[in-house]
Amino acid sequence: MNFMELLTRAKDNDAFALNEIAAMYRPLLIKESIVNGVFDEDLYQEQWLTLMNCIRKIRI
C-alpha cells in the first residue's frame, strides 16, 4: 500500500493505516519531545495530537 492510500484510509479513521503512520513518525515525535536532553511525557502527548491534527488537515 502506498502512502497516499494509507493517508486516505487514516483520514477515515482506519486503525491499520493510523498505526502504520504512527509507527512511521514515532521517532520524529520522540525527538521533538525531548527538552534539554530530558524526555517530556506531556509534550509527547501533545505531539501525538499534532500528528492526528496533521492527518486530519492535510489535503490530498
Binding site: 502512502f3 493517508l7 512511521m24 520524529l28 506531556d42 505531539q47 499534532t50 500528528l51 492535510i58
Partner: protein, 140 residues
C-alpha cells in the same frame, strides 16, 4: 520507503509522503515551541514569589554597588514593574526608556529609529497605559 516504479501514482504518493513529512515536522516543532513557551510563562509567575520570600529586598538595597552593575531591568526592585517592562516590545521599551530616563524628545527618538513621530508617541503612551494597568494604576 516505497520503490519508485516510474509510474505516476507512485510519484504522486512519494511527493505526498514528503509533503506530509515536512508539514508534520513543522507542526511538531511549533507544538514544542508553544508548549515550552506556556510552561516558561507559568514558571515566571512562580519564581518571583520564592525570591521575594527567601531574599528580602531590603538586603539588596544595602549594597547599591552590586545593583548598579546589573543590567538595567535587573536593577528594579519592583517585581511587577520589572515583569511589565520585560514583557513589553523591545522597541516600545526603548522609546519609553529614552523618553523617561534620558529625557529625549519624540522627534529625536523617531528620527533615530527611523519611524514616524506618531508611532513613537503611540508606543510611549501604550507603555504608560500598560504600566498603569500592570501596577494597579491609582495615579493618573
Amino acid at each position: 520507503m516505497w520503490k519508485n516504479n516510474d509510474n505516476n501514482e507512485a510519484d504522486e504518493s512519494n511527493i505526498l509522503h514528503r509533503q506530509f513529512t515536512v508539514y508534520l515536522a513543522t507542526a511538531v516543532r511549533r507544538t514544542k515551541i508553544q508548549y515550552l513557551r506556556s510552561k516558561y510563562k507559568l514558571q515566571r509567575y512562580e519564581i518571583p514569589l520564592e525570591i521575594e520570600d527567601s531574599y528580602p529586598l531590603a538586603d539588596f538595597q544595602a549594597e547599591p554597588d552590586i545593583i548598579l552593575s546589573l543590567p538595567l531591568l535587573d536593577q528594579l526592585e519592583n517585581i511587577k514593574l520589572q515583569r511589565a517592562l520585560e514583557q513589553a516590545k523591545k522597541r516600545d521599551l526603548y522609546i519609553f526608556l529614552a523618553k523617561v530616563l534620558e529625557g529625549r524628545s519624540f522627534v529625536e527618538i523617531a528620527a533615530e529609529l527611523g519611524i514616524e513621530y506618531n508611532t513613537a508617541t503611540a508606543a510611549y503612551y501604550r507603555m504608560l497605559n500598560r504600566l498603569r494597568k500592570e501596577l494597579g494604576g491609582e495615579d493618573e
